[in-house]
Subunit: 341 residues, 2 copies
Amino acid sequence: MKYMKKSFKAMEPYFSKNIDDGIILNANESPFNVPKPIIKGFFKELKKVSFNRYPDMQNIKLCESIAKRFNVKPTEVTCGVGSDELIETTFKCVLEPNDKVVSFSPSFSMYTVFAEQCLAKFITVDFNEDYSFDVETMINTIKENKPKLVLICTPNNPTGAFLEETDIRRIVESTNALVILDLAYIDFADYDYTNLAMQYDNLIAFRTFSKAMAMPSLRIGYCISNEDNINMINAVKAPYSVSVPAQIMARIATENIHLYNDDIRAIIVERDRLYIELKRSFNVYPSKSNFIYLELNEEIYNALLNEKIYIKALKNNKYRISVGTKEENDKLLKVVMNYEK
Amino acid sequence: MKYMKKSFKAMEPYFSKNIDDGIILNANESPFNVPKPIIKGFFKELKKVSFNRYPDMQNIKLCESIAKRFNVKPTEVTCGVGSDELIETTFKCVLEPNDKVVSFSPSFSMYTVFAEQCLAKFITVDFNEDYSFDVETMINTIKENKPKLVLICTPNNPTGAFLEETDIRRIVESTNALVILDLAYIDFADYDYTNLAMQYDNLIAFRTFSKAMAMPSLRIGYCISNEDNINMINAVKAPYSVSVPAQIMARIATENIHLYNDDIRAIIVERDRLYIELKRSFNVYPSKSNFIYLELNEEIYNALLNEKIYIKALKNNKYRISVGTKEENDKLLKVVMNYEK
């Protein structure tokens, strides 16, 4: 790549092949489409759109709906192309070259990419052996390294671990760094703490419409924090990024959030069933998300591939299985349970 | 903005109020919606979409359509959230802090923002007095400054000036820097030179679906260059950015590009009429785009606002008027032509 600057020479494209046939359990997608009444409302509004006009760059109507849901002000919300765009923008806002970022590891793979692009130093804190969060080591690492940014993804991708509110508070209170609280999978956990972001200057909560809200196809997420932090992100992010269809469907979904209850409950029931079943034969870690983190091996992975069942292969014989429908999970278990521990 | 890094302290959000009532001639939008058969095909496909699945991150089908149109390989095309995302990514790929960028000025306002975000030095070359491109000064400025990136927007936003192919070649051949050829408005010019990008290692052509293709609401653009440059952009840009609705409508539009001919011709006819009419009383500059650059004053601007006619106010009593429908332009002229030169 002749024109790539020196500091980026090692960059490589993230690649995930598009799969449109088989059982897709590799991307933490919802196995259920957006609820029908929301889709119906979406098409009704979309038919009236003048496609030749730019979107509302402030996403005003959507921010108002989100603000109402969380009992905050619309100016304490901003929207982006998935929560990814907003997390990336926050990295850009905060990090000068050689600044430090601390994150639990393993976590969302894009964090390291965003840090690399800012030429920042990425410092990791391992999970405990049982893949629970090691909060003590995190707090000590923060004290030693004085990072500008601390990352907490809870429930954590790809491990599924859930960090209790008291532990989040301990971490946030231990540092002057800005803390990114990535709540992409929070709808599958026992409770939500998005509003924690309103209690600390240095906390931003990021949420997405791509997981429980089932619309990754539209690319939309948001974050909530005090106005100062929201203004900072708005000052740096691309002015027009969220498309009109995304703004419409996300707003209708937010106003009808109860319509997701059955699907979310079904995913949680299936997650807990998968956990119990897989636990009989494999090392499986507790999950409060819509996926299961476990140890398998290449033989099993290939046996699944043979049946067109796609799961995510990670390092050191670890795998991540997104929770599918009951039928999809049955098919997965049928293949996997042929193998002993 | 407490957590904003020092080098970004001066950043401010780009702001453009959403207008949904009146005559909107301030954003270089097409006054015509996407042609009906394209919208019909779009809704037909969109109804079959599983919204709970991520988009194809490679935009394969769309890249194939675009490649076919320009007789290049699909691997010589990549898509983004408007051409903006791709231009911004190219800046990130190429520019280390203090590297130089050379651009004609005035030009697309986001160029300076992208350069600022890379902490690069932005060097400008003024237009000639008649707002034609000053190619000699550009070539000399490149020689003196040895930039990493050269920007050519043609037809230029906001002046409307068109750079001849021979002049583009002269600039590209004068430098080892990567040249960004921003062709957002090329569909309104006398001929297209997107394919020039295939003749030089150091040239990338950027195009958008937001202007003549009339779908800024969906946020989609693309660029064409050799595989090495396309790989570079793909290595740094966000993996999932272009939404499924955008991919679908852009593909149908590309496969039915002839359906835009009447609308584009109507815009060109109206542009040339506006030019002739306005020229009677004002300093107006020749335009090969879908807007007119001219000198007015605040009194006229306010008189237009009073009639809910929105145009873009720029520096030094310069204004940019996007070409509307015949009826819209008539209403504009009725107000403006009350004023003498």
